[in-house]
């Protein structure tokens, strides 16, 4: 089974960090990232840029707007795909991600969602 992990955080608070604070944060994350990759179960993990474009159908045609689909304080900052035997294993592996271990003050957190199989084939 594949599981999509959405890594949330408060973008505003991250934006207020000084350059030094931010690079210290990245340094600390690296150690967890190493562990995470070491499991061999992570199929993809990437951080996202903040620039967002939204596309919606309007009168049967795609309409493009800048800005997020839903305006919220907590936004998805990274995405990760884990391949695991079951949900508990996916949780165990996702728990190695920095967002499960640090960044409490930045409101970090992870949403784990099973990827429905066979829907787009």
């Amino acid at each position: 089974m594949k599981y999509l992990c959405l890594l949330y955080g408060n973008q505003e608070k991250v934006g207020r960090l000084s350059k030094e604070e931010f690079s210290a944060l990245v340094e600390r994350c690296k150690k967890y990232d190493e562990e995470l990759r070491g499991t061999g179960a992570v199929r993809m993990v990437e951080s996202l840029e903040w620039d967002v474009t939204t596309i919606r159908p309007q009168n049967g045609k795609p309409t493009v707007m800048d800005g997020p689909f839903v305006e919220t304080r907590d936004v998805v900052g990274s995405v990760m795909i884990i391949e695991a035997r079951d949900l508990n294993e996916a949780i165990r592996i996702a728990s190695l991600h920095p967002a499960a271990n640090m960044g409490e003050d930045l409101e970090w957190g992870i949403e784990v969602r099973p990827i429905a199989e066979g829907c787009h084939q």
Partner: protein, 419 residues
């Protein structure tokens, strides 16, 4: 044993996977014992099999694949734990939890004693809620996935997952006890394990909810574990439980139609009963009786045996079944046992005494929300010709039931009342 160069290609990926299927739960149990933690053992198990996939096709199958896996898993687990601790210290500056470390080396114990048994006791800890004991047993001992447990109990996998995560957390707090309880503790702990096994079997035998009535996977798992328990830690109660499971499960094929409809005992095709299961159940019951057991589980296994024996004779020995029910109620007077007795009396003796027993239960009211109670009353009233009371009892059962096959059966019964 393969080891020489020319034979190396003979160990294929398929063979390694076969060994995984056969041995992974036992290797996992050994790793829980050695590493002292469920999650770490799961990670170590995976790493060990990853290493096997890489090395066995190249270097040949080791002489003792299971011992090899335990040993490699242990090393990988130790490594992972060391790294994590450094990580925790470097980042959170919290002192690591005090645990003997590194864990003991694998020894010959695992070869002699099956570690799955101790794992079963570790999962059925009295400090955990019952549903957590069940979920943990199914995942950690039987190897079911979170999603499979969710399907079996019609619960969202995320709910099951949280139950399992919390149970493991609780075990971590309390300290893992990976052992067969000592003589003082054993009777109570065994009782708890048997109750969990019974819950697993029963949900498989007569699912309380959902679209199918029988969930083979759950009853098979319960039988497999109870068999293991009987082999490794023989006790008459356990043997009685295995006998009960086998004798009931023997009728599995006859209990539902090909379209999933429920078939009542009196209408079952007795040729479909599994004679091997019946014989094996009888053998375990005899063993339990030789061991001096005649507890409430033994009584129920004996009832199942008398029903099973009717396959040969074509007649049900009702006096014996009723006598066994009386005995069972004397040992275990809870309402569900008394309902079972009343139903047997209704079938075997007729409505008169059954009516007064069911009335007693109705006055007490503790089975008010239990569909089979109202279904039994419906049947009683139908036989007494009190049709409108029969109808309202069946309707009540129908309203309470969450099992689709059971609801369809009740609908049929209601339809027959009108005609």
């Amino acid at each position: 044993m393969k080891g020489s160069g020319e034979l190396t290609t003979e160990t294929t990926r398929g063979e390694v996977e076969q060994i995984y299927l056969a041995e992974s739960r036992r290797v996992f149990a050994s790793l829980v014992r050695l590493l002292g933690d469920f999650d770490l053992a799961e990670e170590a198990l995976q790493e060990a099999f990853g290493a096997a996939l890489e090395q066995w096709p190249r270097d040949g199958l080791p002489a003792r694949p299971r011992a090899w896996l335990v040993s490699v898993g242990r090393f990988r687990g130790i490594d992972a734990q060391r790294r994590r601790r450094r990580l925790e210290r470097a980042i959170a500056e919290e002192p690591p939890p005090a645990r003997p470390w590194p864990p003991p080396a694998p020894d010959e114990i695992d070869e002699v004693e099956d570690p799955r048994l101790a794992l079963l006791f570790a999962c059925c800890r009295p400090e955990l809620p019952r549903d957590a004991q069940v979920a943990l047993t199914l995942r950690e001992v039987c190897g079911l996935t979170t999603e499979e447990i969710g399907r079996a109990y019609l619960t969202k996998p995320s709910t099951i997952a949280q139950r399992i995560v919390r149970a493991k957390q609780k075990i971590r707090e309390l300290g893992l006890k990976f052992e067969i309880p000592d003589r003082d503790e054993l009777p109570a702990r065994r009782e708890l394990v048997l109750e969990v096994l019974y819950l697993v079997f029963n949900e498989g035998y007569a699912a309380s909810r959902g679209s199918t009535y029988i969930r083979t996977d759950l009853s098979d798992e319960a039988i497999r574990l109870t068999r293991l328990l009987c082999e490794l830690l023989p006790h008459p109660d356990c043997e009685s439980l295995l006998a009960l499971f086998l004798l009931q499960d023997a009728r599995r094929a006859a209990r539902t139609s090909s379209s999933g409809e429920l078939i009542l005992f009196s209408e079952q095709d007795r040729d479909l009963w599994d004679q091997t299961r019946l014989r094996e159940g009888k053998m375990w019951l005899e063993r339990a009786l030789t061991g001096g057991a005649f507890g409430s589980i033994t009584a129920r296994a004996a009832i199942a045996l008398v029903y099973g024996e009717s396959a040969e004779t074509g007649v049900i020995d009702w006096p014996q079944i009723i006598a066994l029910h009386e005995y069972h109620v004397a040992l275990d007077p809870q309402p569900v046992s008394r309902l079972a007795r009343a139903i047997a009396i209704l079938e075997g003796e007729g409505p008169k005494r059954a009516a007064s027993l069911l009335d007693e239960l109705a006055v007490e009211g503790s089975l008010e929300h239990f569909p089979p109670f109202h279904a039994a009353r419906g049947e009683l009233f139908r036989r007494l010709g009190r049709i409108s009371e029969a109808r309202s009892a069946y309707e009540r059962a129908f309203a309470l039931s969450q099992s689709e096959p059971e609801r369809r059966l009740l609908e049929r019964k209601l339809g027959e009342l009108i005609s």
